[in-house]
Amino acid sequence: MDETILELHGIRKSFASVRVLEGVDLTLKRGKVLGVVGENGAGKSTLMNILGGIIKRDSGEMLLEGAVYEPKNPNDAKKKGISFIHQELSLFGNLSVKENLFIDGLPTKGGVLVNYPYMSKRAKEALALLGVRVNVDKPIDSYSMGIRQMVEIAKSLLRDTRVLIFDEPTTSLSQVEKEDLFKVIGDLTEKGVSIIYISHVLEDVFALCEDICVIRDGKVIGQKPTSRLDKDAVVKMMVGREITDLYPYIQKNPGKDMLKIEDLTSQGKFEDVSFDLRQGEIVGMFGLVGAGRSEVARAIFGVDPYDSGSVSIEGEAIAPTPQACIAKGVAFVTENRKEEGVLLTKSIQENLTLVDLDGIRGKFASINKAKERSACKRIIDLVKIKTYDPAKQEARQLSGGNQQKVVIGKWLMKAPRVFIMDEPTRGVDVGAKFEIYNYINDLAAQNTAVLIISSEMEELMGICDRILVLSKGRLTGEMKRGDYTQQAIMEYAVMGG
């Protein structure tokens, strides 16, 4: 049963003069799951895009079941049995579930009109195989992310898929949806489908994969059976150095109260949330999906309205608008990096100076280019953004981790007094995560009050001085460092509100 289905030899790829892949070798066995891990920008996406027929390689050989595999475009790759499930799903919210399943090859009656009855039948069958029961005539927008992902998987199964590539499939899934996904992946491998699983969540990779392949700087550092690896070894392979402590913590002595939230309520989202943040303190906020964490953060920063309660900084109430918050020195990193965090088509420089245009003002309300450049250079060096030219390179060309650094960096132009971060390390690799934790610590050391929202309990336990737990829109628990246990946090998180 150890039959090789896919082999890559010496894959190379350069963009302009930048070498992204420098001779990658990879082997995938039939009916197995291969985990591919590496830092952002290591070349994983490029490699998978080559496999999926989205871009062409410069050199190297690919063999699918022993035959030369040369995909001309994504459709050709799919026809040959390789399907790709992207991190951002390729679904159309305005179309029905069944239309989405067939959109790239709508079956027709007599070659003209779409054959809807046939689509309904096949769609129900395909989804039933995955244990999903939905109304296939309803628009896909009306279903959860978990269901949408299943639809995407069903879409690939409608063809004769032999290799299925997942790119960060769990980022927007709840715990239950994630377990369903893993069960489906298990079923698929039993049917002989081979899986390539890309993820930053090492726990998942270890739980799912038979083999793990680590990529760094466009090269394969090693492909080994999971049984012969442990997490520390993988992290070391990924970053090329030893990270002794994944979660750096520094001793602090918090000062006076900075941000005070009193009885904040927004009907149907959260109720009576009260807490405070002190200068130089890092406070974590944990909660399960739907607990209202992001909603609270958005209300504090004035992005969404709240019904009652108050937000004050140093005893002074602030109006619920982002402008008022920014004026008071509050910074906010949203969880939706691509939609709300960065201007993808703008340069890194323009992104960085966005919230502090006053700071780079020249004569007659113009922008002082020299000031702009030097201010950007300071931030780029501070947060270590990898860029060839901040004035020319667009934010969308950066890897996820570097984009997140831009988002955080723009708020560092003027040292913030309160920093609210919603999932600051989501979709960010281990190395960049470590760097982000370090700036958070630096900020706290400079007396900034930091509120971090995260779904990763370990992360909060690692870097926070205090953890608040939300459940069903209510604050159910608060713990000081030293009292943390995973079990206690989880108990608060599932407490009935």
Partner: protein, 322 residues
């Protein structure tokens, strides 16, 4: 939570934008029927439909374009261009057999120019069609020497006065175009791809749809329908004035948007939506004439209706865009 408040909110956000415009249509008819005894007579209804024909046919093509999240500002110019060429041909004694293909060809040329710029070279639809709108009118005026052109009666007779069971053939033609457009949009792969592209063209590209070809075809269709609209409006009026079609693109766009075709793309239908949009605009015009309203009022009312429909479009689609 207050249930009354909830249902009121549901009505405002959910029900009203979706069915509100049918309600508005019914109300409009009722008001004009009360104010003018002739409004609901068979003759007047046929008149309203006749008046809708040229705009209506162009609205079908515009629906395709707007569904791809695009816009065609050159529709008015295409109408003028096609009308001028057709008028010239009619003046030289050509019959329908020549004139109809000529109208289609004129529209196709304009549509293809738009399509190449927008689909192939990724020019913003607003700018690309603004350019073709401007140079198209300029070229046509050069050709016609900005003179009015009057058409002889024969073709007018053939097109306007033939009917089936009292309904003018030309009205039936418009309805046929609506039905055909709707079938293409709802029932063919091409139609469904239009909706997919309008929702997310990057994703469409990623799954291997040929976005360039689909968008190009949408603009081609919009051009062709505007070309036919040009022929009809010249024949209906019996003359081609140098100002023909000026500003018509906005009437066409607003009929579609009023009918629920979202300017954000991917939402709305040719039938019944866009057709009802056309009829509302025609009814307003016709009704105001019947009640002897100040002719300037017509523009005001039309403007207000467009303003409201675009606002409702934005409110309805805000949630998803965020």
């Amino acid at each position: 939570m207050n249930t009354n408040e909830l249902s009121a909110k549901k009505f405002l956000v959910d029900v009203l934008p979706r069915y509100g415009f049918y309600l508005f249509f019914a109300l409009l008819i009722a008001v004009f029927a009360l104010l003018s005894p002739t409004f609901l007579t068979f003759g007047n209804i046929v008149g309203i439909l006749l008046q809708s024909t040229s705009i209506g046919i162009a609205v079908v093509g515009m629906t395709f374009v707007i569904l791809t999240a695009g816009i065609d500002l050159s529709a008015g110019t295409t109408i003028f261009f096609s009308a001028t060429i057709c008028g010239h041909l009619i003046g030289n004694g050509s019959g329908l057999v020549t004139v109809i293909p000529a109208a289609i060809l004129c529209g196709a040329v304009m549509g293809a120019i738009n399509g190449v710029a927008i689909a192939r070279f990724k020019v913003t639809p607003f700018i690309a069609t603004l350019a073709t709108m401007t140079f198209g009118r300029g070229l046509t005026l050069t050709f016609s020497q900005a003179k009015a052109q009057y058409l002889s009666g024969e073709i007018q007779n053939m097109l306007m006065n033939s009917n089936v069971a009292g309904i003018p053939t030309i009205v039936l033609c418009m309805l046929l175009v609506f039905v055909a457009g709707d079938v293409v949009l709802r029932w063919t792969p091409f139609g469904r791809w239009i909706y997919a592209i309008g929702h997310n063209d990057a994703a469409a590209e990623k799954i291997g749809l040929s976005v360039v070809r689909i968008k190009f075809t949408a603009y081609l269709i919009a051009g062709i329908t505007a070309g036919i609209a040009g022929l009809i409006s010249s024949v209906r009026v019996g003359a081609v004035m140098p100002s023909l079609g000026m500003g018509q693109e906005f009437v066409i766009i607003s009929c579609a948007v009023l009918g629920g075709v979202s300017l954000f793309g991917g939402k709305g239908h040719a039938l019944p939506g866009a057709l009802v949009g056309v009829l509302i605009i025609s009814c307003i015009e016709n009704g105001l004439v019947l009640i002897n309203a100040n002719p300037y009022l017509y523009t005001v009312v039309r403007g207000v209706v467009i303003y409201l429909s675009v606002m409702i479009d934005s409110i309805q689609n805000r949630g998803e865009l965020r």
